[in-house]
Amino acid sequence: MSTALWLAVIASALGTLLIRVVPFLWMQRRLGSDTGLNSIPQWISILGPLMIAAVLGVSLVPVNPGAVSWGATAIGLLVTLLVWQRVRSMGLPVAAGVAVFGLVLVGVTLAG
């Protein structure tokens, strides 16, 4: 890489780090201040869960979208949800969901 390209990498890296760290430090200072500004604005606390829901929506699209992969996604999500309703934790539902998703995908591929 040329020097200019290295500088572009460093500028992008520093900018991304600042985007992540400055609002965090600003909020920690605000929470710890004596001026009464010690609560998180409502719009920020609402955006938190919505961002996670958005990441879920984006990740739903299979690597190779098609009838089989969409079907496997629906079945995998259903199994994940059913196991989660039973155990209310993360590890087991994720493992069960991936296993069923993989079985459906491999099963249909082998059958076809």
């Binding site: 890296a13 955006l47 919505l50 991936v98």
Partner: protein, 236 residues
């Protein structure tokens, strides 16, 4: 680092393992794409080490390979990552003050945020710093290692196990589903979350994946503020 106990860091490492189902295939792909775009293995690894933001890294190498002006490459890389501004404030109340956040927040990706936002409130205060350290470091190290493997042998790997690259990423939607499901507490939240998931899916399917997360969250927020239920009818 007085807040760190090995046990809480290991807990963070253990709980971040499902994230790797998404990190490994995507970092392998990034390594492969970067070398195909003319970067060496170590340059691709340096990009993963320093920028550490999936979508914007793909955009960065793609634009550089296409000969775009570097100021535009930097501007668009940062524009894609601007959604991260709301992540830190949402975690601030649960993490102890420390000078180490200056570098540790480098690990605050979409996935680490989602996991931390769900798990930190459930942990004891003394565990939280170590937990975040363990979870963030595991994800970062695996991302860099995946880039190196993808750059050196990605083509051979995907040719040998073609289905693995399709199955492993399902760990991400499965994990996020377990994080979102408990938040369906009433009709108002259910509608806002449902609207967000549907619009993120829509934007991604129609090729707007780079801006899908902030746009979908904005749609959900509009839904949350616009639609209100009578107190008696808000229960699911």
């Amino acid at each position: 680092m007085s807040h760190v106990s090995a046990r809480s860091a290991l807990k963070g490492v253990r709980e971040a393992i499902p994230l790797l189902g998404g990190y490994i295939p995507v970092s392998l792909s990034f390594g492969l794409v970067a070398t195909q775009a003319g970067f060496t293995t170590w340059e691709a690894a340096a990009i993963s080490l320093l920028i550490y933001a999936g979508a914007s890294q793909f955009l960065f190498v793609g634009m550089v390979a296409a000969g775009s002006p570097l100021w535009l490459v930097i501007a668009l890389t940062l524009l894609i990552n601007i959604r991260h501004v709301v992540y830190g404030p949402n975690l601030a109340a649960w993490l102890p003050p420390s000078r180490h956040w200056l570098w540790l927040m480098h690990g605050l990706t979409d996935q680490v945020f989602a996991l931390a936002h769900t798990r930190l409130p459930q942990l004891r205060e003394a565990e939280r710093f170590g937990w975040f350290l363990g979870a963030a470091l595991l994800a970062w190290v695996v991302w860099i290692a995946g880039t190196v493997v993808g750059a050196t042998g990605g083509e051979a790997l995907t040719a040998r196990w073609p289905l693995l690259g399709e199955i492993m990423p399902f760990a991400l939607p499965a994990l996020f589903l377990t994080m979102v499901a408990p938040r369906f507490t009433d009709k108002r939240w259910a509608l806002a979350l449902g609207c967000t998931i549907a619009s993120a899916l829509f934007f991604t399917l129609y090729g707007w994946s780079n801006v899908a997360i902030p746009l979908a969250a904005a749609c959900g927020a509009i839904c949350f503020y616009m639609v209100k239920f009578h107190p008696g009818k808000n229960v699911l």
